[in-house]
């Protein structure tokens, strides 16, 4: 069903354009108004489309908007036809709501958070640009349009991480994010190309139908694996870059160099979930290859557990949240990798709320703590900033997975799904599901631990800050607290759209499963016993993690925490240094690359380009110049003499009688036919032709043609002299002939 979906991304783009062009001249209020309204109107259109138009169109493929034909090359099965087209179905619709709703709240929050920032307009321009690009990403109806959005959000991420670019560390963090993403994009692009080569289309619905018919993508491609495996793997490399999975997760913690609202919007709620969205979008291709699914699930689960462990020992508020985001994204990938798409996207949805809430709380806390995010210097903030504390409390319990907050439902359905999945088949890879499930259970325990550590160290016990900072602690203004409260409401209640109602014989309670059915296929069937068991286990683990953290950190650093740090100093240092993965990458990739670049610089730049191409060319010109200088005497009269001689020569050659550049001679036995007419324009003058046949005979006549018979065979040179009798000038043409 057609609908003006283009309006949704267009509004933020218009906002960004206006802010870039005029933002510097506008008052702050105007800038905020334009930025917020742009997202607000986009959200209005999105909500209207989602709630009033989509329900009737959901079964028929959703709402579509074909803006124009973008690329049309060739035709038929080998042709490439790409439209700038948008489609809103249940999946992209839900993502649109998340982006516009949370995006709007974060714009409002940022208007308070960035109040003292001189470069206000630039910040909001980038933020609007990001929203537009993200909406293009989710609404795009084919891979190229999605890729445009994909790169657009990457660009905005880079611009916003390095927003305070005068500090070198921030600019470096931006570069790191961008370059790491480029590695992922490389895989993503190759995946698109490979998919196009074998399926002949890049449109999502056509890809789905090609994949469901199977044959084209099941051809063996390389290493005994079918095309679908390699497409899935390459696309997942792109997803791993964008969504910060092992091994490309390193950029996300550094991305916290950007302003906090950016961390909340881009690096927690929306952009980093694009990879999960993409895998869910391409689920038909992934379903063809259990091996690719297994890779997605295992990488996701490993990332979830690994990042959770790193989170144990981080001392920067936003760094903890960053590793938490990496870990939660791992959960989502484990969800989609076990063919439990509903659960993966459901977790994306709930995570967007509680993680955005947590990040905005981080901003609010740092605002209160005079800009510092060091949790070793916090403590006791519960009474001092009660609203922020309340919101953090709810979001904390939600991410830990406490019933009935949102994280409980989504995380539980991922874990239960991992144990119950049948997608890997009965033999060979059946271990993948339980393996992923166990890792996720451990990661869930870790999540509860590090989040509780964060909560206890920041909000409980006595304050460890210095007197000056303590004096300045204050609750944030209403524009910051308001969005926080709304996010907390979402974090608390968001889970109720995905109640596993089948357990109590009311499947219709699971709104999200029902809702995604046209797009992602039927909800995964989990045996009731498994589901109940894992609900119990998750809940117990969450409580256990919180309890453990209380023992260590309740009311500040306690004895067990000191003991562990004392007994395993090297391990604690290793975790605090993030397992030194950055250093590892530095040693394996970055330093060799630098060495290679240095070497290439010396060889290619210094020697080939500078010495040979630049200085060499200069030298050749110089040498010729030295010779040419002898001719240049600087005496105008000699130049004129040369000029006069040249004119005389031109006149001489121009007035010669016309002759062909080559004689036409045809040989028949001993006789030859000579034609001395010039092709093209003939001279109007009477010309005389003298023929010398090289056998002692000459003919003189006014006709340009002659016939001559040689007396004996041999080689002869025929010379024709064309004479203009009036001027006495002549031209000679020669031709060698052989007669037998």
């Amino acid at each position: 069903m057609p609908f003006n979906l283009r309006l949704i991304p267009l509004m933020p783009f218009i906002g960004a354009t206006l802010l870039m062009l005029f933002g510097r001249r506008w008052k702050r209020e105007t800038v905020v108004m334009v930025a917020c309204l742009a997202v607000f109107f986009a959200g209005l259109v999105a909500f209207d489309a989602f709630f009033t138009r989509l329900p009737e169109a959901a079964e028929a493929g959703g709402l579509t908007d074909n803006v124009w034909t973008w690329l049309a090359v060739g035709s038929g099965p080998t042709g490439l036809h790409v439209d700038l087209a948008f489609r809103m179905d249940a999946l992209s619709g839900l993502l649109c709501l998340i982006i516009t709703f949370i995006g709007f709240l974060i714009h409002v929050y940022a208007s308070g958070y960035m109040e003292h920032e001189p470069d206000y307009a630039r910040f909001f321009a980038y933020l609007n640009l990001f929203c537009g690009a993200m909406l293009v990403l989710v609404l795009g109806d084919n891979l190229p349009v999605m890729f445009v959005g994909w790169e657009g959000v990457g660009l905005c991420s880079y611009l916003l991480i390095g927003f305070w670019y005068t500090d070198n560390a921030n600019a470096d963090a931006g570069k790191k994010a961008f370059i790491t993403n480029r590695i992922g994009d490389f895989g993503f692009l190759l995946g698109i190309f490979l998919l196009f080569q074998y399926s002949g289309t890049m449109n999502f619905s056509e890809i789905t139908s090609v994949a469901q018919s199977g044959s084209a993508l099941m051809q063996p491609f390389w290493l005994g694996q079918p095309v679908a495996f390699w497409v899935g793997l390459l696309l997942f490399i792109g997803a791993a870059g964008k969504s910060a999975q092992i091994p490309l997760y390193v950029w996300l913690p550094d991305a916290m160099a950007g302003p906090t609202p950016v961390s909340a919007l881009i690096h927690a709620a929306t952009m980093v979930t694009a990879g999960v969205y993409m895998v869910a979008r391409m689920h038909a291709v992934y379903l063809l290859s259990p091996a690719a699914m297994a890779i997605v699930a295992i990488v996701g689960a490993l990332t979830a557990a690994f990042a959770a462990i790193i989170g144990f020992a981080q001392n920067d508020f936003k760094k903890v949240l960053a590793y938490s985001t990496v870990s939660q994204l791992g959960f989502m990938f484990a969800g989609v990798g076990t063919a439990n798409y509903d659960a993966g996207v459901f977790h994306l949805f709930t995570h967007a709320f509680f993680k955005a809430g947590l990040f905005l709380c981080a901003g609010s806390v740092m605002h209160a703590m005079s800009g510092s995010g060091d949790i070793t210097k916090m403590g006791g903030l519960r009474k001092r900033i009660p609203w922020t504390h309340g919101v953090f409390f709810i979001c904390w319990l939600a991410i830990c997975g406490i019933f009935p907050l949102s994280g409980f439902f989504s995380k539980d359905s991922i874990i239960a799904g991992a144990f119950a999945t049948t997608v890997y088949g009965p033999a060979g890879m059946a271990w993948v599901g339980p393996f992923v499930g166990v890792l996720l259970v451990l990661a869930a325990l870790g999540t509860a631990f590090y989040m509780s550590r964060l909560y206890f160290l920041v909000f409980t016990g006595p304050s460890r800050a210095d007197a000056e900072t303590q004096h300045h602690i204050h609750e944030s203004p209403f524009v910051m607290v308001g969005p926080l409260v709304l996010l907390a409401v979402g974090a608390a209640l968001g889970g109720f759209i995905g109640i596993p109602g089948a357990l109590v014989e009311h499947p219709e309670l699971n709104l999200i499963g029902h809702f995604f059915e046209p797009v992602l296929g039927a909800e995964m069937m989990v045996p009731h016993a498994t589901e109940w068991a894992f609900m119990g286990i998750s809940f117990a683990l969450a409580l256990g993690g919180i309890g453990l953290a209380y023992l260590f950190y309740g009311g500040g650093y306690r004895e067990p925490a000191h003991q562990v740090a004392f007994q395993f100093p090297r391990f604690v240092a290793l975790v605090r240094d993030k397992f030194r993965v950055d250093e590892l990458y530095d040693a394996i990739f970055i330093r060799p690359l630098r060495k290679l670049s240095e070497w290439l610089f010396k060889l290619a730049d210094r020697i080939i380009i500078d010495k040979i191409l630049v200085e060499g060319v200069g030298m050749v010109v110089d040498v010729f110049g030295r010779f040419a200088r002898f001719l240049q005497l600087g005496d105008a009269q000699r130049y004129m003499a040369a000029f006069a001689i040249g004119v005389a020569a031109l006149v001489f050659f121009a007035t010669r009688p016309p002759a062909p550049s080559e004689l036409k001679v045809s040989v028949e036995g001993l006789s030859v036919q000579v034609d001395a007419r010039r092709a093209g324009r003939q001279s109007p003058r009477e010309l005389e032709y003298t023929y010398d046949f090289d056998d002692g005979r000459e003919e003189n006549q006014t006709a340009p043609e002659i016939r001559h018979t040689f007396r004996q065979p041999g080689k002869y040179t025929i010379r024709v002299t064309v004479t203009d009798p009036r001027w006495g000038t002549s031209t000679v043409v020669k031709r060698r002939v052989e007669v037998q």
Partner: protein
């Protein structure tokens, strides 16, 4: 009188003018050589005009006379400027183009 005679005179005048331009070192004489070349051209124009009974040649001659006057004015001005800066009008001395 045949056109041939006029053209021969014109050719001789042109040769005299050209050799003056190319061989003399005095800038004033060079200018006079140029005038001679122009007048040789005028003569040829008029000769052909007379032969063909066409008045266009006269028009050309008039234009060339005007042009020659302008050229003489500019040329003499350059000579004066040259003399002021160098105290000479010998062309061998004016070799700024070779440095």
């Amino acid at each position: 009188m045949p056109t041939y005679y006029y053209l021969t005179l014109s050719f001789v005048l042109f040769l005299v003018g050209t050799s003056g331009v190319l061989l003399r070192r005095n800038a004033l004489i060079v200018l006079m050589g140029i005038e001679l070349q122009l007048n040789a051209g005028n003569l040829a124009f008029l000769a052909f005009s007379r032969q063909l009974g066409d008045q266009k040649g006269h028009a050309f001659a008039f234009i060339i006379i005007a042009l020659a006057a302008a050229e003489a004015a500019v040329g003499l001005a350059i000579l004066v400027a040259l003399f002021r800066s160098r105290q000479t009008i010998n062309l061998d001395e004016a070799s700024l183009m070779k440095r």
